[in-house]
């Protein structure tokens, strides 16, 4: 990755922190709020592929965990798996993921990521939310991921200097298609 790419990535992560803690945390629907870091992990899988998407997911998780009280590293573990899975799925289509594909990935990634986080938390004896509340969280997170996934993908394409249309296998982290 070039210095410019790192700089842009830093800006995106900083913006994500501000948006999450300043704005999205105040938008509470049924006791749940959107998760911009999970959205970015899903988008990273779509844009950068399984391998590089997982690296981004890991990094995003480390940052996200600074602002919550859940066990440090749990978000990283979750985002790595989500980004990798989404990246693998995106790799099955030859062309750039369509809007429909992005929405489907965001929906499944949002629901799967939420349930995965709850499940992993339970494994390490972290009390989870009740089932009915978990369903609300999954729906709210997935819905906002679907709404914002295209915007997030465009931002990450700009960040990783990936030319539109040249998605994950273009070697984004290794320089990608420089513009």
């Amino acid at each position: 990755m070039t210095l410019r790419t790192w700089g842009r990535l830093g800006v995106i992560v900083l913006a994500a922190v501000v948006v999450q803690v300043g704005v999205l945390n105040q938008i509470v629907v049924g006791g749940a709020h959107p998760d911009v870091f999970l959205l970015l992990a899903i988008s990273a899988g779509l844009v950068a592929g399984p391998q590089r998407g997982a690296v981004m997911g890991f990094t995003l998780g480390l940052v996200a965990d600074v602002f919550v009280q859940t066990p440090y590293g749990l978000s990283s573990l979750c985002y790595v798996l989500v980004a990798f899975a989404v990246g693998l799925a995106a790799g099955t289509v030859s062309a750039r993921p369509t809007l429909g594909f992005q929405a489907a990935a965001a929906l499944l990634g949002g629901i799967g990521g939420t349930l995965l986080f709850a499940g992993l938390g339970t494994l390490i004896d972290q009390p989870s939310v009740p089932r009915h509340q978990l369903a609300v969280v999954a729906v709210v997170v997935a819905a906002t991921c679907v709404l914002l996934v295209n915007l997030a993908c465009r931002l990450l394409e700009w960040t990783l200097v990936v030319a539109p249309g040249a998605h994950h296998d273009a070697g984004a982290f290794a320089g990608g298609t420089a513009r």
């Binding site: 300043g22 602002f67 009280q69 939310v129």
Partner: protein, 277 residues
Amino acid sequence: MATSRRNTSQRLTLVILLLASITVITVAYKGEARHAVVSVRNGAGDAVAPIQRGIAAVLHPIGNLFAGMAGYGGALGENQRLQLEVGQLRRQLVEAGQAQQQLDQLRSDQNLPFADGIPEVLGEVISSPSSNFDLTIEVDRGTSNGVGVGMPVVSGAGLVGSVISAGQHTAIVQLLTDPRSEVGVRLGTGDVAVAVGQGEGDPLQLQDVSETSLTSRGAPVVTSGLDVAAYPSGIPVGTVSSVRHTGGSLTSQVLVTPLVNLLVLQYVAVLQWFAPA
């Protein structure tokens, strides 16, 4: 061949990242690293607090503008005033009920500490939980204001929770409804129990209530303040919303609805009280 190499590389990266994540979780769970994580979190909380305050200051007027456009400006202020009044009345009701039922016990026990007279630090809630999986709020008061870990947090109606982390200018408060929250409580009948959170919007569950307990729906519940309890005694917690006697069990299933509406907190008071060692 190239595809096979790429697949191997992907799997290797995945395994490394999973191991790294598990290592981080393990290392950060206990010991010195845990303290470092807490320090980083407190520092980050302090760093983003001005942003949160700024955005809240922008968002509140916008919300009020829309309310005013719809002609509800007056109703909003009236509603807030009435909510405060209802909360105070509920507290008075619980306190009166509790006092009536336990007057003799309280008079005879000179050593019971009271919440009254404990110094308070008033703070504004600047953020809801950042995660959907922990029920905490962030307030704009920290160690520089005299706030410390373990201090009880109350609002006009009663107990809100306790401080679990304090930075220099901000503090994280764990709400009563968080599944990790446990509060020693006393019922109107004199029974003592532990109130455990069950998640946002759900009532607290009382543990260790005897099957022979005479407690009933609507009975007041206050903090017990027994021994090394984390809260001083007499802080209103809630009212009993359900009592179920299950056959074959030595305990009753008792649910308590918190007095405080934890979903719409704006101002809270941190009691500068420490649990006895």
